[in-house]
Symmetry: C2
Subunit: 440 residues, 2 copies
């Protein structure tokens, strides 16, 4: 919260500012760094730290560490957060984590090693430490880890006037809140009213008359993917979190949900391409190699299986088709547009597309092979192998993620490389099998 | 807004309910359909319509069309919306679009043909039609198309008390609003205060003392990808939209921004996999084939180029490596973690990873070829071609999207298939070139 009016154009992170910062770092000029970084949003300062090289980053932190606060720390990507935390003086780190909300502290702790976790827990006040430890007791990637514990509640029988009077004298309210949650005497949420509706209603209006129709709750043990889904599907701004008995234990706001949605999407895309789901542009070459080499070695062997004069064409086209089918299915499962209700229809659709694509490609390849090698049987074998492999690819792309989903696993585990392997192997057998029958 | 308290567990769309609806449709039982669908959220009803087959969908709409309102219409996916609009009676359609906010009408109109657009515009009130036509005058995929025109503003010199009194008597306020926007006499936004801060501050406090530090504005002509980025980066809940002169023309709320973020991600993923960016599980097999066949034909030719005994291994592994590098780069460009400031370092990083991966794979493949064919020169050629192609793949994966970005194009246009083609061709030349020099 500023006590002055902001100028929205003043504070951007552009190329000029980054270069000016690097010059100030080289000159060891703390005052210049202050002037350049002070107007920036914490998220932009975090981006700057990620984008400059390791030596520059460490020099900048040495010169400017006293200004690194909790907000910057919580915006920094996991890939460099450990390094930054290690290079901060103890007292700066302690102050930084102390002004964070407990849900942000939990978010930072999750990705740290035990000794660093201990350092941060030790820096917290007693009450915050207990709160953080309670949150860490919820499963990883659950709603309980995401929620903030500070909530704004009112008894279900209150009027607008009673709520407004209460808010005016209430203990420090959360930084961000958009609803007053109505609870029954057992502390179970029964509805919520937006602040906008409260402000625009008469004092005598009962709160229960102005609650939102779209009210939902989420259980603290529910996976965070469900949180992202519910916010996106029902256009929520905040959502009360309850325990197994339906009692209010916290609230999740849309910025946390948007974050989860963003992370889930990144995971899907990186897995599809056969990169680990934690890949980041801040990783160095060795880390990058460690993420990617395993998939390349897998492909080395599957590609070796298809070493023959013409078969690679069938296998390679199948790999592309499988990845296409997979991308659509993984995406649809994430948005729950693909469910038990239409799985059968989508599978038939994929089968149809596989047959059609197979026929089209078979025609081109079969005629070309006939023309070039003057052997219509070879063209026929290639064409038939292409059709079989296109069908396998289209079906594999949808059946693999569906099977993972049914088994309670994340459908995005089905990487493009996995489906490519399937089509490499099938391309091999379809071609050799058909060739054995028809050509030999 | 309901006038009763909601039971959050009552209204879910599960397999049982879908089957019960289909039975009621088969029996022509409108009353049963009413009972099953009434408790559902509009987004779930839209999902149901997408998931059941075309004939069932048309039968359901015939039996239940009087209940299809604007909210359901705006939740339905583009893939089937035209069909639904065509099957609705004129008066139902008119009523449905009349209770929508103008930004939702714009969202629906964008994807329709001219005659259907005309039908919907004719159904609107005069004032709404003008508002919609003004919004449609902004470029496609711009902030102006996303924004709602209803805003809640206060002169910059007002106090909390004046704002609260104004809100209580104001004309119908927007359905969703989270801030009061402070404007100067020229109607330029200069800051905003959250409703929570207004409610918890004394009546005499000037609004300018409680404005948010994270205040930003966006221009109506800015692309919607920038809107999604700003909301995600700065954790905004709403953002004022201004014209070229900085005057307030509307406001975008986070649910719209979350929607855009979700769509952008889908686009990135589908393009990476070589599917059109409009692919949906609701598409039929022919439409699916039309989206996918062009990329498969491209791959057919590129794979044909690499028809030789061993070269496909080099080319295929390069294709995978290129896609890995590409996925990380496209993702980082979208989140602006890859900028001019660190492009050079990321390119060097990719080069390093390419060399390391190339060495590892060359060792495996070279030794295997030497062992199997008893020819160390062949192993050497294969290994060297592998190293060259891995470097090309790693660099191509980052340079292609970077070049597109520099040219003002969407980096996600760089599909996996494009980079695969690059590595197929390079694999071909590296292998044959080296073989010519060393083996012949």
């Amino acid at each position: 919260m500023a006590d002055h009016l902001a100028d929205p154009d003043e504070d951007v992170l552009d190329q000029d500012r980054i270069e000016a910062v690097l010059q100030a770092v080289a000159a060891g000029d703390s005052a210049a760094i202050d002037a350049l970084l002070d107007p920036l949003h914490a998220a932009d300062i975090a981006d700057l730290l990620e984008q400059i090289g390791g030596p520059d980053r460490r020099a900048l932190i040495r010169l400017w560490s006293h200004e690194i606060d909790g907000e910057i720390l919580s915006e920094i990507s996991d890939a460099i957060r450990e390094e930054v935390i290690e290079s901060l003086p103890r007292d700066v780190l302690a102050e930084a984590v102390r002004d964070l909300e407990t849900d942000d502290v939990v978010d930072i702790l999750e990705d740290l090693d035990a000794p660093q976790q201990g350092m941060i827990l030790a820096a917290l006040t007693e009450a915050d430490r207990v709160a953080v430890e309670q949150a860490m007791a919820y499963p990883e990637y659950s709603a309980g880890r995401l929620m903030q514990r500070e909530t704004v509640v009112a008894p279900e029988h209150w009027t607008v006037g009673e709520a407004i009077d209460f808010l005016r004298v209430a203990d420090p309210l959360p930084d961000q809140f958009y609803h007053v949650i109505l609870v029954n005497p057992r502390m179970q949420p029964v509805g919520y009213a937006t602040l906008g509706r409260i402000l625009s209603s008469g004092r005598e209006v009962p709160l229960r008359d102005i609650v939102e129709a779209s009210f939902r709750t989420i259980e603290a043990t529910d996976p965070e993917a469900d949180v992202a889904y519910i916010f996106n599907q029902y256009h929520l701004i905040s959502c009360p979190v309850v325990d197994a008995a339906g009692r209010l234990v916290g609230v999740i706001t849309i910025d946390d949900a948007m974050n989860v949605l963003d992370e889930e999407h990144a995971e899907d895309m990186l897995r599809l391409a056969g990169v680990g789901d934690e890949a980041s542009v801040s990783d160095n070459a060795f880390k990058t190699m460690k993420q990617r080499l395993p998939w390349l070695v897998v492909n080395l062997f599957t590609a070796s299986l298809s070493v023959a004069a013409l078969m690679p064409i069938v296998a390679s086209t199948g790999g592309i088709a499988g990845t296409q089918s997979l991308a659509v299915a993984v995406r649809a499962l994430a948005t729950r547009d693909l469910t038990a209700a239409n799985a059968r229809r989508v599978i038939w659709r994929e089968l149809g597309a596989g047959v059609l694509n197979g026929l089209g490609l078979a025609l081109i390849l079969g005629l070309a092979a006939w023309g070039i090698f003057g052997d219509w049987k070879l063209g026929l074998v290639l064409g038939m192998a292409m059709i079989v492999n296109q069908i396998v690819a289209a079906l594999g792309g949808v059946l693999v993620p569906l099977t993972l989903e049914r088994s309670g696993l994340d459908p995005a585990l089905a990487s493009g490389t996995f489906v490519t392997t399937l089509t490499d192997v099938m391309g091999f057998f379809a071609f050799l099998g058909l060739a054995t029958v028809l050509l030999i």
